[in-house]
Symmetry: C3
Subunit: 254 residues, 3 copies
């Protein structure tokens, strides 16, 4: 039985996540269900896309990754099932799959239109329970994507700000702040040389190898686990210290 | 092997939840354990009852739902095992099962008195680990409720405020605020007609079909996924904007 | 297939926990993975050690407990695999295993040096994904600790403040505050007699059996589920009311 993972902004106080689990298990009773993360900020599609990027390909083939960060629930936004490098993904067509679409060598996407794979009654406010969970369970049971709906050629992608090189200087921006206050930028690891300095929020930081190479409370840049440059404060929060977040400009120069 | 779900107010920082999981697995080693939710406000029995309502019947027959929101631990309050429409439920007899008792067509309840199904040593502060988890594991292993203790005829029910109709106007109240700041009321879907207005905290709101039918920041009423009217702010929090919570009066009128 | 538990300070908003799950499942596909807790304060090694204490021995033999609270990631701190009373434990050698080392009758520890059990590429900031998860999965698959690296005789232990007896009075301290604001002390249950009073933060409290024996809002001491004296406020938070935390002195006297 393949695994199913769940990524949502439902928190852990209301029973929304477990309602999805119940809907899955009623269709695919032997599923392993792994919680991905549920404390995403409400409606944070960008954060969901970055979180998904961290794990979708680490799981083995046939895993079904469900993402429900869905501020447009009940609107005309489409539902989506993807196959990307033998993993399946299910969720709203609002950009949560942006980095899968950027990274995967082969992707095919189907729009979710076949109501026989949905719950018998569909609410207007909780498609996680009534559409995405049942569809994921049917995929785990072996239902091919072709039966779920027509091929879709243009799934929504969030705009990803590309960093720029200008002579010796690089300009990028913060794309996400994580739980630790690490500021994740769009600047890839192979653009970063040791010895240069990073400038953000009016302050400069050296590029070091890891947190422990910094002094307590020091602002540093390093290569994070997504292969992107991050700005951090050792044993502290760069987001708090600099009072910046997503969109803040970052420059790298001598 | 049936599933076991866990709903608690234990949070995710102290190891209380996983102590329950260990106690379960030591008795029923092949259990699938699904986390329901653990960030309920400490002692929020009403919130637990509403969360459980969202999923207890979505799971298949023989699932064991454990609920440990238990401010009266160690007191004379009884422990309870229920069978309701072929699902099992285990927890303190303090009202957390209120909506199961309201909804289920058949329920039988047993008081937990047979100490051979508890842990060998029972603390005065953590019956989740020492009573409810072991009992749930034994039920998952097939122990019939009859062996756990005598039938109980009067499990505790929280008072559920019934909404009232008075001519053309309906009066109800907020019963819960969820993570998004949605204000869930006790007014059922079939009492709500489009075109009428909902009044709460001195403000009026139209009844719409879904969030996307509202403007950004607009106060709206809609039918939530429990089949109850909810008051929401699109991409915002009605609880914060109106500064109201459980108990706040809601009226529906022309 | 044995269980694997995960205890981290990764929170539930960034996908770090599920990246570890993916790394485990890619090596040990049939693993049951139980979340322990993920909302530990960033870098709270002491809190992790206490949380682990609550469950490591409740799980059956062959369980693999993974702990990643790892502020020294990327430094020279060693990685560790332990066998303690037939359970396995994996994580950084920074003190998170202190109470396992104190409690277990037999422990053997191995340093993690055999890179063939790590991920092919190892980041400098996320050994949870690149070292500890793969090693845990290999242990679950049956790889003996001997293959992971050499025996280590001196795993790091946090200093545990021992309580002192001085005539009729006992002096101890708070070692942790939990989610409820309960102040867990280092004073063991069998040092506590009913009838004596506990002094903390300038206030006195009786030793009672359980929360329900206290009045609403009353400051009380009782024996917690770790077998240690705790100071609590019924239906409130002792940590908030007294404005104290770890390190605060506690005395017991007549």
């Amino acid at each position: 039985m393949p695994r199913i993972t769940l990524l949502t902004d439902f928190g852990s106080a209301d029973g929304y996540v477990v309602a999805m689990k119940g809907a899955i298990v009623s269709i695919a009773p032997d599923s392993y269900i792994d919680d991905a993360a549920h404390d995403l900020a409400p409606g944070d599609v960008t954060g969901a896309a970055i979180a998904l990027w961290r794990y979708w390909r680490l799981y083995p083939a046939r895993t079904v990754h469900v993402v429900v960060v869905d501020p447009g629930v009940g609107s005309e936004r489409r539902g989506l099932a993807l196959e990307a490098e033998d993993r399946f993904l299910v969720g709203p067509d609002n950009g949560v799959f942006t980095h899968v679409l950027r990274e995967a060598r082969r992707v095919r996407a189907h729009s979710l239109t076949a109501r026989e794979y949905f719950a018998p009654t569909i609410s207007d406010t909780f498609h996680g329970r009534d559409i995405f969970a049942p569809v994921a369970a049917h995929i785990a049971n072996g239902v091919p994507l072709e039966l779920l709906g027509p091929v879709m050629d243009d799934p929504v992608r969030l705009e990803w700000p590309e960093p720029r090189r200008d002579g010796e200087s690089i300009t990028g921006e913060v794309v996400h702040a994580d739980r630790y206050g690490n500021l994740i930028t769009n600047i890839p690891a192979d653009w970063c040389e040791r010895g240069v300095r990073v400038w953000i929020g009016g302050r400069g930081a050296p590029i070091l190898r890891t947190y422990s190479d910094a002094a307590q409370g020091q602002l540093v840049a390093l290569i994070g686990s997504l292969g992107l440059m991050e700005v951090s404060v050792r044993d502290g929060s760069a987001a708090d210290d600099l009072a910046v977040g997503a969109g803040a400009p970052v420059t790298v120069g001598v």
